[in-house]
Symmetry: C2
Subunit: 629 residues, 2 copies
């Protein structure tokens, strides 16, 4: 059991099998379609072969500074997948790739395909912009996942050598560079490396990177001067872009590039846990409130602006122009999951679930081969998933999230087990008293609110089973072995403490009506509007279901809305149907503005589908927020 502030240790993805009708097929598509397609992309674009470090000036393609990270995330995703579902073809690709990556390592331990061959003289000269430590971080995460999935230590040892070399270059000691990466990632990766190896030096290096960030004199200033540049001419204008505008302990607003922010805050939460650092925890909680109460899309998307791929100001949540990068929603899951390790508090799990079922899952097509980088909440019909991107961070990030999903569902604490996510499947863990425990979960979540858990300790033992009561749920019932139970709900978790016997059965029923949700009145872009949500799933309207266009539909406040499972639609999902009003378009033939009393509307059938499933049929317009009228 973890010490200190890390009260709730997640049950590893290696121990949590997912096999329900919602996520099961998605993990299969991830394995059968997404991973092979992404492998081909990494091969075809030269990302894999870049690790041959055979590039010479004039050759095409020229490796790019962050290609390593794409390959590393694919390798991490493939490792997760192998752990939950053996696959010889995938295993062979992974083995080949591991050999190739390790072969690129330099005698001093350095491992970066770009700087080894394209600009070797510029190694460590532009941490601010060039993602060098970020790439190292993703390779470290891949190595940890690979070792945990396969048992092979080959890649892990190479990355330990690289991390050890990095520790000779960076740190507070005299003679070392006092640098850190402009794109956070290595910080959380080093905590993973510490946990996988037990080597405290990796935790110390992570702590150094996090604590040094934003201190004066500013490393990015001196680094820019060393390159002969004026630090004032920083293209992003402010170090808030990379959360380096002040020491992290003093930060209280989520700012800048959203993915960077999430990765930093994830590392801060990890360090708060490992170092028992209440100040880091307090900073995380301040930042969390700023995000969750002022800067979070209803889809779990974050970072509204294309300009900085990130945050702007409080309550600025435009819909059509939302950036809401897929990686940022994934980053929110990573951070929320780490906050849950510090506090078993439903608000973190609510945000994690909100992102997973909406702004994360929207990132991939149902066929698993096309991806959103940007996830707007409204579209005029010109936004579609693509097979790949020049900057391809999102696709393999999705692949690793879906493959490792089981690892986000359960945690064990000093007095028992917590269930954060409702996924059908099975998990095995060991309680604080060394009892071995299996939990079998059966549910049609998120389409139905019934969850049945079978508790299988290897001997009768007393512990608390914490069952998350989702924030969206206004009424739930709980039964143990068929008997109704009124359990106390603390911080969003129903706590059932008893001596559990093998075969004990817990049933939870969450009321899951269609909810009309409104946004805080300071969200100007949503005022006068309503979104439809049922359970954790946020809905949208698509043009293909509403030929007159979705932006002219209004939902009367007393609209009767009914959920219906449609097995033939988009792989089977619950649609919401009812009656809306559509503005009469004829009066608009020769007008852009009219007196309100000149406008008429007539009833139409409304059909909303889950937001995550949009843009899988005919291209068209889309809206999450409907106006009321």
């Amino acid at each position: 059991m973890a010490d200190g502030l890390r009260c709730w240790e997640p049950v590893s993805w290696t121990k949590a099998r997912v096999d329900d009708e919602f996520w099961g097929p998605r993990q299969r598509v991830n394995r059968e379609r997404t991973l092979p397609a992404q492998w081909r992309q990494c091969k075809d674009t030269g990302r894999v072969d870049a690790f041959r470090v055979g590039w010479r000036p004039g050759a095409e393609p020229v490796p790019h500074i962050f290609w390593d990270s794409d390959v590393a995330k694919w390798l991490e995703a493939a490792s997760y997948s192998l752990a939950i579902h053996p696959d010889p073809t995938l295993q062979a690709r992974v083995d080949e790739l591991v050999d190739l990556v390790v072969s690129a390592q330099q005698p001093d331990g350095y491992l970066n395909a770009y700087y080894t061959v394209v600009e070797p003289e510029k190694r460590w000269t532009n941490l601010r912009d060039c993602h060098e430590l970020y790439c190292a971080g993703h390779l470290i995460e891949a190595a940890v996942a690979h070792q945990q999935a396969t048992g092979s230590r080959k890649l892990l040892e190479a990355l330990c050598r690289y991390a050890d070399y990095i520790a000779t270059v960076f740190g507070p000691e005299p003679g070392k560079k006092r640098g850190y990466c402009g794109h956070e990632e290595i910080e959380l990766a080093l905590v993973r490396l510490y946990r996988a190896t037990g080597e405290a030096r990796y935790l110390r290096l992570s702590e150094y990177f996090v604590r040094e960030r934003g201190r004066q004199p500013h490393y990015f200033d001196s680094e820019a001067r060393a390159r002969g540049e004026d630090p004032q001419h920083y293209w992003a204008r402010t170090y808030a872009y990379c959360q380096a505008h002040k020491p992290v302990i003093e930060q209280d607003e989520v700012v800048g590039h959203a993915v960077r922010a999430m990765y930093l805050y994830s590392a801060m939460a990890d360090l708060a846990a490992e170092l028992n650092d209440e100040h880091l925890l307090a900073a995380c909680e301040r930042l969390w409130d700023d995000l969750a109460l002022r800067k979070l899309y209803i889809t779990g998307g974050i970072g509204p602006s294309h300009h900085n791929e990130g945050f702007t100001w409080a309550y600025d949540l435009p819909n059509t122009t939302a950036y809401a990068e897929t990686c940022a929603a994934i980053g929110l899951v990573l951070w929320a999951h780490r906050m849950l390790q510090l506090r078993c508090d439903g608000r973190y799990a609510d945000a994690m679930e909100r992102a997973l079922y909406n702004g994360v899952l929207s990132g991939v097509s149902l066929d698993g081969e096309r991806f959103f980088y940007v996830n707007p909440l409204a579209s005029n019909g010109d936004h579609h998933r693509q097979e790949w991107f020049d900057c391809a961070c999102c696709p393999p990030n999705l692949a690793r999230m879906i493959a490792s999903l089981g690892g986000y569902a359960y945690a064990r604490g000093s007095d028992g087990v917590a269930v954060h996510l409702y996924l059908g499947g099975e998990v095995g863990t060991r309680l604080a008293d060394d009892t071995s425990l299996r939990l079998i979960q059966r549910t049609r979540y998120p389409w139905e609110g019934s969850v049945a858990l079978t508790v299988e300790p290897d001997r009768p033992t007393e512990f608390t089973l914490r069952l998350r009561i989702p924030g969206w749920c206004r009424r739930h019932t709980l039964r143990v072995n068929g008997e109704p139970l009124r359990a106390c709900v603390a911080d969003g978790y129903a706590c059932v403490r008893r001596t559990w016997q093998a075969g004990d059965r817990v049933e939870v029923e969450f009321d899951m009506p269609v909810e009309q949700v409104v946004a805080h009145p300071s969200v100007a872009q949503d005022s006068g509007r309503v979104a439809l949500q049922r359970g954790p799933v946020v809905y949208c309207l698509e043009g293909v279901d509403h030929p007159g266009g979705v932006h002219r539909l209004a939902l009367p406040p007393d609209a009767r809305l009914r959920p219906r499972f449609d097995p033939g639609l988009l792989g089977g999902l619950v649609v919401i149907e009812g009656q809306a009003m559509a503005l009469d378009s004829r009066v608009w033939d020769r007008a852009l503005y009219l007196p309100a009393d000149a406008v008429r509307s007539s009833p139409v059938i409304l059909r909303a589908i889950p937001y995550f499933a949009w843009d899988n049929r005919e291209p068209g317009d889309m809206a999450v927020w409907l106006w009321r009228g």
Copy 2:
């Protein structure tokens, strides 16, 4: 009287005095505050002294490529002002400036402060980006205005020499460059020069610039190659940015940088009139419909995007992030006014008026010394007027528009006179039969809908007086010498034909209730919302009047709204008052999203002020579009 398609010749600003209680004080502030303040800015920033062409490498400030245009627009504005109100101090500054500008002319006629001294070897090497002909155009407009205002031909002759030199450089003839400017302006300026001098070669040069635009092989391609650049690497990515993506005659969507577009379309309308070119007229009408029916803010602002300072797609009219550059709204007035010369059609006058009273006038503070470059329709409180800008196109553009306003109000045609705008004052013109006519207009427009016109021909004569019936007006009455008259209304103008005697009196009464206006349902950003308009004036709510914040106010569909003239507020204006509903904010303390049925609202007093007058009191949030609820 004009020939051909130019059926309605505007009565010059030199002949139209404005002295009502709305525009009179604004012209005075323009003269007493704005012009002196802008002169100081042009002096202090080095814009004026740049014409000394004494800059040497290393000296600061370095003249900028479009500084000439700022000074030229100031000179044009000052000339207009001198014509309507003599002012010895201003006259002295103008004289001094004219001498200075003329002194900068090179022996070959070239007149550009930047290229003469900073990069003389690059003259005419980058028409696409460097505004060289644009600056020439503004100097030509200044010269025409200066000659017409003062009678002095000094500047006009210098600019004729420059234009003659330009004609030796550019044109379809062998040996000349087949170029044209990336930023349109010289095209309309050359038509003005032609009209002022009668020299057809200036019309031909304008025609050449307009017809050559967008033709293949593309001049900007070859010009880029000549600079050693790859034309594919054009920073703006598409020649649609400067309306050079295809020949103008084929264009049917307003695209790209909004100011450039307006200046081009203005020139196209001018050329359609002068050349009797139905194809150019048809292109103008197609483009007009695209703008007026799909891309026009209710304020008359145009060009929603900061990205290209211009147009995006149909119905994309975001409020908070609206760019709606002041110069673009002014450009719309210029274009609309030229379309009115082709067709006396109220839709052009409606757009001209919409822009004037809203998106143009918002560009300047009530004290005349601060300016908006960007005119959003909603603000979180962080948008404020500034005294000046590095790119200072808007302030002097406002100054010239306000000083020359009288020139937009009246036109004469073959059968009489048209009144496009209701401004108190007096105008003199000569009818087709050579009758000399004075019109005296008395009105409290836009605050009241009553207009009284006294008709003073120097002898009794029959002609048609066309009185615009504004598109916003649903009911009007007309009297001639006290007798009610039902005049036929054609294309938005009431036509009163009779033999007019000196002293005949026409009274029009426009019903001017508060209107709740809605936008076309395809304008996603306004759906479910309503704007308040009374007469031509669009209203907004400001935070200073609504301490709880304007974005949480909802207007019930049956809200009773009353106009009230408040003489003490912001120089005296009509406010709109009534009752709105404000969302209860207490339930939102710890939530960003809530079920709609958890939210309550309570009545509050609403006070709307004219949009043009916002940001003249305490800084705060602002909204034009209110939600209905």
